[in-house]
Symmetry: D3
Subunit: 341 residues, 6 copies
């Protein structure tokens, strides 16, 4: 039987002008839902795993809409608390070529941001679960969210549930110093940490040697250095690092590494033309969880995660509507796309 | 030269599912902007009058969008304060037949709701103005909004500017008792009061005799009774009352009366098939202001206001994109529509 | 074998804002093609008749688009001349309830308006044809169009081809006096004349007795009076008169009469909720031509025409995409609609 | 705890041209899913009941889409068999005024139409269930569907599960004689039968006295006569009859009666402007099941069902996205719509 | 006078989610029509040639739609048989970057797939024709389609009509062995054969030397080897081979060769960013037929075909809406695009 | 205080098929407004400068639409004359890859093309202005437009207003010889001239040495040669030259040079993936005006203009909806795009 994965965070209404219109030009908006941890839950459900998403949603049609979209994708929504004032919203202006995408957040005062410790009964939530995943966005939401996340981590740990954290540092929510300290406390309970190379430096002061001379430099030793430093600092089981190089707003390179204390494996470097990059990091996290939870080896796991991430860039919306066989096909080089090895 | 009219209140982003879809079904949303007092300003500008709209908007693309839509329609936006956190949003689910329209407000924490007395310099704003209009929504927004509105009223009065108020009671913002007391204080500074028959009763306890037996009853004497009571209570110059009878969610009857202490005039009773009824009361208010500011007689004024209101029901969005000649044509019975006299 | 019908006139690009938006609100436009005589040709082709449409279209993608839309509907386009500067355009703002529809023409300088006598070889065009139909719009286009139409009429007459004319008076193209005189000259060559009750009065001074007292009055004698007067004045074979009563911009009554010198037949009076009324008169003309060309009796013919017209009001665009069986079904009262008899 | 309801039948992809376009005009199609028994399941889930839908869907993105849409609405999809060749499709051309809606079925060869007895394990499906609902469409699909439905009925009966059947006769699937005989066999196992007045006559030869003179006639005695005859013929527990009068393609009257052997209750007669009438009968069936399963009295039950049905006419798509409180509000006359009592 | 070309095959309704949405995300579908041989006919008509398309279509609005779309493009539809049950449908999910496009066929039981020998009178169809074109899809449709195609070939041959075949092997319709044998029998009657390099190997076992070491290898000698082998095996007049290299799902290289037994000509190698690649092979075939039928030389012909194919990749839908002058302009290097020579 | 810039020319309705559809395929059109000089005015207003646009617009909803779109963007519309027959229209077919974009003009007979000298009172228009900008399109419109432009230039010169001209040669409006002579006369009054390298040759016979051998050649000396020749010929203050290299219809290189008689500065060479290239030259002109009017140095000015132009390629419609900070960010290399230096 499949392992049950619990994820916890904020899901928002996402409003996107059609095509490449700017918000100020727009006259209608495409309407989807998304949020880092919800995105992970959807990916896992798409791969056939049992995924439960925990959040707090207002009792109104937008709260219903978010819940129903998750349920549609096969995510368990039974532990979603229904109360509070509003659903957070974010507006996504799609960039192209020399103009980057812009995100406008309108998430203050959301039901989850105002949630309290008593909203969530982790004993009940974690019953039957084998994995808990959260990202650095959740404790950054303010109010009691750090404490709630901490309690969730402790409760998971007490039950021998594997805990993974995607660092996901967002400067619009908190500063690097606070983020570094807060996440540091949570990482004590974490087994698997996912972070991109910049955040490893900004939050934890861990920089690969040589990086200061060439910020685009990358090699196995540099990855190993950072991974080992993170593992040692926070007593982690495994460390995944992600790398992005921006050719233009719609053309990127992307790859990742995964370290287990002994070995470090490097994924293929994907050359990606972008349809929608929101949620691509979450797609990687989901792929990683899938691989580890299903006892795949290190190389398969990082390759699977990277292929998930690459495919997500071609899918509209936050959720990665791709299936195991499709990821596998890309890993085997049958997708026909442009992979720079 | 045309009289300059100042209006003050909240403009929101309005998001509407296409056709008759419910929010929970929707996958995209039509995007317009609207708010009671902004709607009045747009109507007046469409009639060729000088209209200035005062509010506070965040410095982001949605604040820009609201301001630009007003500017597009010819409204003076020079006294709009740009600061604060967010633009209020409302979602509008169009009803039909036996299913009424539903509005979901997401306006808490908007820039204008958090405005302070020091945000607005009424001396500067009222320079050159001849009329000030607000509705009961503005003081209901909470925070300092009642005090700001009061200050605006006093400042206008001190300059001999005509002040009009549309009572516009909204139960989602405050209760009838608070509304009645607060508006009562503001009405001391008001010359022209617009109110629908229900609110006259609910807020001020003024009911036409016979109404208790038949809530749909209407005749000249009943209108006169309520108008006179309001005029006397608040020492008003003129009182307009509006009447709506709902045949179905998309078929209504609508008419109004206008009383000047001597005479009461009754508009035609319009039989309306509804495309979009939001802003129809504001369209009436604008027509009334147009008539009075341009020294039209009582009957013309209430007829013009009612024709504005009737036409608004056929226009998509909050703003009433109709012109003087078109209103005139309907008043003269050349519109071809169904008027129940 | 089916009789070949030739129609001659202007087809335009029609641009329509979605739903009930006004032009000044619109951000995109629906794109169809239409024109009185082209509409007739399409209806006839839909009924399985051979219909050839004659006009002049520019050699550009819009000229191609107009021609291809006709060809798609089965109309013979082999006698369309390809040359000239531009395709005429009209913008159609859909009205509702108390707001009437508005049409904005941008047709000056179109290829057909600048056509010359030498553009059309009527001998070749009329080879094998049994019927020629035009409307009062064609000679009103200015330039040589009156002369071209006159030549077409003479050529048709010389070949014993039945000629029908729908008076279709448009005040935006010419005044009533000029129209009356010009059409009068053309009607000398016409066998079947279609006209609505107002135009019979405005252009030819023929008013039913009693009309001056009640402009909505209608009875068999009044219809007979006007029909007979027209028949006698222009030595016509048959006269059809159409009647519309406007309840609102989207609710009309419509019926017609047909007179052959002996008998006058009156169609059912249809109560119509309108989706798109443009082309409804052309739909009637097509139904009339169908009935007469196929030797149906007088009552069937006027009933068939009226049913065509009623159905057209429910079809989006100028062209009446309905089939014989569907018209028949409505005539037999099986359409389920609201018919006021 | 809520009673679990099982429904069984075919869900199809529904493709609808936008607005009032005909299929031959359309260039894009709105995409939803629907089918009589699935519609009932969605309604019940919307009312908070446990509803399980049983069918067979192909393993392709359209099969996924149908399943996911059901899951989104809260329907249990665990007993849906995934196999077979294709998903049935139907094209829905929306009519208006004098032009009726047209449906084009493309359902031959669908996964469910080719299902076999061994596809469904009714013991497992009915575990924990208290109600089984099917319609006359399911046994009409051909192949083994009659036998599968019969087996389901027998299995339900053996477990003391309440069985309801909506007769739903479709001439495009079978003739009245076959339908009458087949449904007669199934009705032996049915407790609650829903039928419209025409089908009671066509399939079972039961006509109210006086109906032959006036097909629109209706009174309590006529309803009682038919209900009693049906109850006696098939030894039913309760009989619901539905009535529709067509004013135009978008304006109908609708009401129902419910008989329990002692009493007959008549619902209000709703005057409905139609947005989308597909699934309105299913909405009534769901309301009826809700009332009876929750031990409401006869009058409440038929009134609740009729209000569900009336509201469905205002909802786009097959599924009735309305909630208990909204139906209640309409029943209490607070919906503001036009109810002819 | 232009040569008349007859093509024969299946045209389907094509339904495409907007943008890059997956089918499971889609809420509406773009609606076009297409099929290999119909695509060729449209291209030829766009180039001003007389093209007649032969198929069988159901008598319903979708059959009408397919026929009308062909007629709109100037294709002769007089030999289309109208009968049978349904129109085949295919769903086209547009890929991007690393995610390939996906096609879901729903074509079983289509009118043409169930056609019989007696449906087509080839004597009548071929009267006045000079060329017959079919593809390997037509005989693969099952039922009597192989025999009907064979009869058409024989009938064409007997009349000295040039016969061309595009091998177009589709694994979803039949296996390589059956396809190779069946097409082998038909190729006996074929003058011009078009095939891509893979199918030459898979169906006929003809591989260029060196291909096994490098599947992307290409040079003149390799092309000559395969062309000659095909020509000799099937006694062909000319052989065209097409080559595609996939950089990503939306970036391809494409070129072709044409051999006449003496000379082999190689087209430019086009570097193409793809809007819609469906029908690009058919565009090449049409260009080839145009060149040969109009007695152009070998190099012009293959260059013209390749330019047609390259342009098709930029056109939405199956049909290649480009004109002779546009193809010519690209051949002359004036299109401004990226050509790798 | 910001300098007021006056621009003068034609604004048209722009109608664009969605996505990459051709006009002949389109069924709806996106609706924006644009024109070379209006585009410049909008850019300047977006940068916070005072910009007044002068033209003549018909009194109809399309004239209103054009004016309102300008007003929305903050452009002063007080000197727009409202009269005349029609608004010019242009249809824009978006190209891709090997298929270039196509523009179809329908601008003959527009209000501005028929304007007369007496329509514009330049004394009033230029009151308070510091800069006048026009392009070579305006005098090419025919009628009195050359004389009106000449009068504007003289009037500006007489007031010591800086005059800039973007040569913008359009072969569809006039031939190179006429254009060269006419613009030559106007350039006598111009201070700043903007021209692309081809037009410098075609209109004024000024070719960089070596260009004949390699039309893609570029170096500092070549730019200097042409700039100096232009400066000397027309006694200009500054000369800007623009350069475009087409990789494909949606991938271009673009850069510019700016010469002040002493120094020549070269902008970065931008590698651009194109969303919409219309108006990109106008975006450069606006950037140039911004830099020079705000006393920026030569290098900043040409870099700012080039960054404006590069960003415009990513914005839908004619108008460049970008802000100063966004242009600055790209200049500082923080946009993340692909810049070839």
């Amino acid at each position: 039987m499949s392992l049950k994965v619990v994820t916890f965070g904020e899901i928002m209404l996402r409003l996107t002008p059609p095509g490449y219109e700017r918000l100020v030009q727009a006259r209608n908006l495409d309407m989807t839902y998304g949020g880092a941890e919800a995105n992970v839950a959807v990916s896992l459900a798409r791969f056939g795993m049992e995924a439960s998403y925990v959040t707090k949603l207002p009792k109104n049609p937008l709260g219903d809409g978010a819940l129903e979209e998750l349920r549609r994708c096969g995510v368990d929504t039974n532990f979603i608390v229904r109360d509070g004032d509003r659903l957070g919203v974010y507006y996504m202006e799609r960039g192209a070529s020399l103009r980057g995408s812009e995100v406008l957040y309108d998430r203050a005062g959301s039901a989850i941001a105002n949630a309290t410790l008593s909203d969530f009964d982790w004993d009940e939530i974690f019953a039957g679960a084998g994995w808990f995943h959260f990202t650095g966005i959740t404790p950054a939401l303010g109010g009691e969210l750090f404490n709630i996340t901490l309690e969730a981590c402790k409760s998971a740990k007490a039950r021998d549930i594997t805990v993974s954290c995607d660092v996901n540092f967002r400067t619009k929510l908190w500063d690097a110093k606070t983020a570094g300290e807060s996440l540091g406390k949570l990482l004590e309970y974490v087994d698997i940490c996912i972070v991109n190379e910049e955040h490893a430096g900004e939050l934890f002061g861990i920089y690969a040697p040589g990086k200061e001379k060439d910020r685009d430099a990358f090699n196995r030793d540099m990855a190993l250095y950072v991974s080992k430093a993170l593992k040692d600092r926070f007593d982690l089981d495994k460390v995944a690092i992600t790398y992005r190089r921006t050719i233009s707003a719609n053309e990127n390179l992307w790859w990742a590494t995964l370290y287990d204390g002994e070995d470090i494996c490097i994924s293929p470097k994907y050359h990606i033309e972008i349809i929608d990059r929101v949620g691509s990091g979450d797609a990687f996290a989901a792929g990683l969880i899938y691989g580890l939870a299903n006892k795949k080896d290190l190389q398969f796991t990082v390759d699977f995660g990277a292929a998930c991430c690459a495919l997500k860039h071609t899918i509209e919306g936050d959720f990665n509507h791709v299936y195991f066989d499709e990821v596998k096909k890309l890993m085997e080089g049958k997708g026909g796309g442009r992979v720079s090895r």
